[in-house]
């Protein structure tokens, strides 16, 4: 019992667990929109494309969130422009652009190894997170939460039926851009918690899991947010005992929950589909 509570006695563990929960919650919420919009690949791309921004912000002494957010948006804009101007398919465009950004980021970081640690950016190091970084994370997370609270229904409409949004006089393209901006912002937060390699999972997996578990958007949102928060908290907690990378713990947990949902989900799970098929065959 005593040993189970030890992580709560260290300040750095408490900070890590609470920070991860908040980031997990926000990423989870956003992952619901990402799943519904079919933007998983985009989420993956943006979470990598923010790396050069982080490096530049460190060199310039600016808040890392600012730089990351800027390169995230730049990457999204580049992908969109290339896609519209060439006959290339979307997956190729996304692939080329985000690897270009990531490569540039890695190059920039490796030029000055004394100033930032490549490992920290790529794998995250929430256990040793600096106080200013925690504050930045909280600001980013709360901003995204408020934005979703205010514009969530409009974004849902744009995910489901952008044309209906236009019919009602909403600017569907602006709203999609807004969703991309939110995605860039959360990618920054996720990068701090679990590192650039695994940040994508945080903005994809909870939403995909929740999608298997419900047919209602409101429940999907709640489930995805809860999954994100709980797995991030437990993952950070477990990383103390396993002495493993926090990001690895969190994302492994999220993937485990996804596999459980995939098999056991009441309606869309593998078992349920098989049962339904058998019943249909018998009838």
């Amino acid at each position: 019992m005593e040993t189970l509570l030890t992580p709560f006695r260290y300040d750095f563990m408490l900070t890590a667990m609470l920070t991860c929960s908040l980031v997990g919650l926000v990423c989870g919420l956003l992952s619901a929109f990402v799943t519904l919009k079919g933007w998983s690949l985009m989420g993956d791309a943006l979470s990598h494309a923010v790396v050069p921004g982080v490096a530049l912000a460190y060199y310039a002494g600016l808040p890392f969130a600012l730089g990351a957010f800027a390169t995230g948006l730049l990457a999204a804009w580049t992908m969109n422009t290339v896609r519209l101007k060439t006959p290339l398919r979307e997956d190729a465009v996304i692939g080329v652009v985000f690897t270009a950004f990531l490569a540039l980021g890695i190059l920039l970081i490796s030029l000055r190894p004394s100033q930032i640690d490549l490992r920290t950016i790529i794998l995250g190091n929430v256990l040793a997170i600096a106080r200013e970084d925690v504050i930045q994370l909280i600001v980013v997370s709360v901003a995204v939460l408020v934005a979703l609270l205010l514009k969530g229904r409009d974004l849902l409409l744009v995910c489901f039926d952008p044309n209906q949004a236009r019919v009602l006089g909403l600017r569907a393209d602006l709203l999609q851009g807004f969703l991309l901006a939110l995605l860039s912002a959360t990618a920054v937060a996720a990068l701090q918690a679990v590192g650039a390699v695994l940040a994508a999972a945080m903005v994809i997996t909870p939403g995909a899991t929740a999608y298997l578990l419900t047919d209602r958007f409101s429940r999907l949102l709640g489930l995805a947010a809860a999954l994100g928060a709980v797995t991030s908290f437990v993952g950070a907690y477990l990383s103390y005992f396993l002495n493993g990378a926090t990001g690895g713990c969190i994302v492994t947990l999220q993937s485990a929950v996804f596999i459980l949902a995939l098999v056991f989900a009441p309606k869309h799970g593998l078992l349920a589909t098989r049962r339904a098929r058998k019943e249909a065959a018998a009838a």
């Binding site: 044309n163 209906q164 006089g169 209602r216 958007f217």
Partner: protein
């Protein structure tokens, strides 16, 4: 006065394909107008230009004399999408979708008021889906799916309504229900534009027709536009015609034939290419006018013989 206007609209897709060239059209209030053309003739493209979903490469669209953007801000036009354009796996209920018709009038946070709920209920009842309101939209039959989006258009209470192929893949009962609803809306003064490639039902409920094939070939009152020549031009070889004087139908059949088709209603034309309708009811004037003409023709013929 409701008006819907396209001025020399040309649409070229990024792929380089020009789906619509120089299409012009002007419709005004209290009408059901059919948009008729083969698959790929640009029906959906015209709709998307009229709705402002895509911007014409050349030409312009105006609604009630104003630009499309203003029509959107005022929610003047409602749109019922083609079934293929909807993501049926999306986790929304029938009720949620119909509520999306009401967002335009809601506050910033889009929290429905009592009046929004009442409008949604009324629309759902009108299309007979109130009992299915909590279903996820993918769990509906083809006909029910269509009616969800018709209900959303009703809930939006716009006076101009565009429906893209509402009868494709729909059972005859649903088709009749939708037609009855469109007639009610016309009686209320709405302007309705409905695309279809189901020729048979057009004369039954559309007072105007637009024929389209990569451009607008012609438009106007149904009995002026729906002529064999125009239809052949619009459909090219795709139309299967059955001509009595070339067929094996003989005089002893007393002009009676039975037409059976699977899901599409046949278009039936008379001897000189005039339109034939399913019911006499409501068209007594037309029938008596035709009988009158026939009597006169017969009298003239008899007179000629007596001479």
């Amino acid at each position: 006065m409701l008006t819907l206007e396209a001025n020399q609209v040309t649409v070229t897709y990024p792929s380089g394909l020009t789906a619509l060239r120089d299409a012009s059209l002007r419709l005004s209030g209290g009408t059901i107008c059919a948009l008729v053309g083969v698959n790929g003739s640009g029906k959906s493209t015209l709709f998307k230009s009229l709705m402002g979903f895509l911007t014409p490469t050349h030409g312009s669209v105006s609604i009630n004399g104003r630009p499309v953007r203003e029509a959107q801000k005022q929610s003047w036009v409602a749109y019922v999408p083609q079934a293929e354009e909807v993501d049926w796996t999306f986790p929304v209920s029938v009720h949620d979708v119909v509520m999306m018709g009401r967002y335009g009038g809601m506050n910033f946070l889009r929290i429905p008021r009592a009046s929004d709920r009442a409008a949604v209920e009324q629309s759902l009842r009108r299309v007979g889906l109130w009992d299915l309101r909590d279903r996820q939209i993918g769990e509906l039959s083809g006909g029910q799916k269509k009616r969800v989006f018709v209900a959303r258009a009703l809930a939006q209470s716009s006076r101009i309504i565009l429906l893209d192929e509402p009868f494709t893949g729909v059972d005859v009962k649903t088709e009749e229900a939708i037609i009855a609803l469109l007639r009610e809306l016309r009686a209320e003064g709405c302007l309705i534009l409905v695309s279809t490639h189901n020729l048979g039902s057009v004369p039954e409920f559309c007072d105007q027709v637009v024929l389209i094939n990569r451009t607008i070939l012609c438009y106007g009152p149904t009995d002026e536009v729906f002529t064999p020549e125009n239809l052949t031009e619009a459909f090219g070889g795709a139309l299967r015609a059955f001509e009595f004087d070339r067929s094996t139908v003989e005089a002893h059949d007393d002009r009676q034939v039975t037409v059976l088709t699977d899901d599409e209603r046949p278009l039936v034309l008379g001897k000189r290419g005039h339109l034939e309708y399913r019911e006499r009811q409501g068209r007594e004037a037309l029938v008596s006018e035709r009988e009158e003409r026939e009597r006169a023709a017969r009298a003239a013929k008899n007179g000629a013989q007596e001479d």
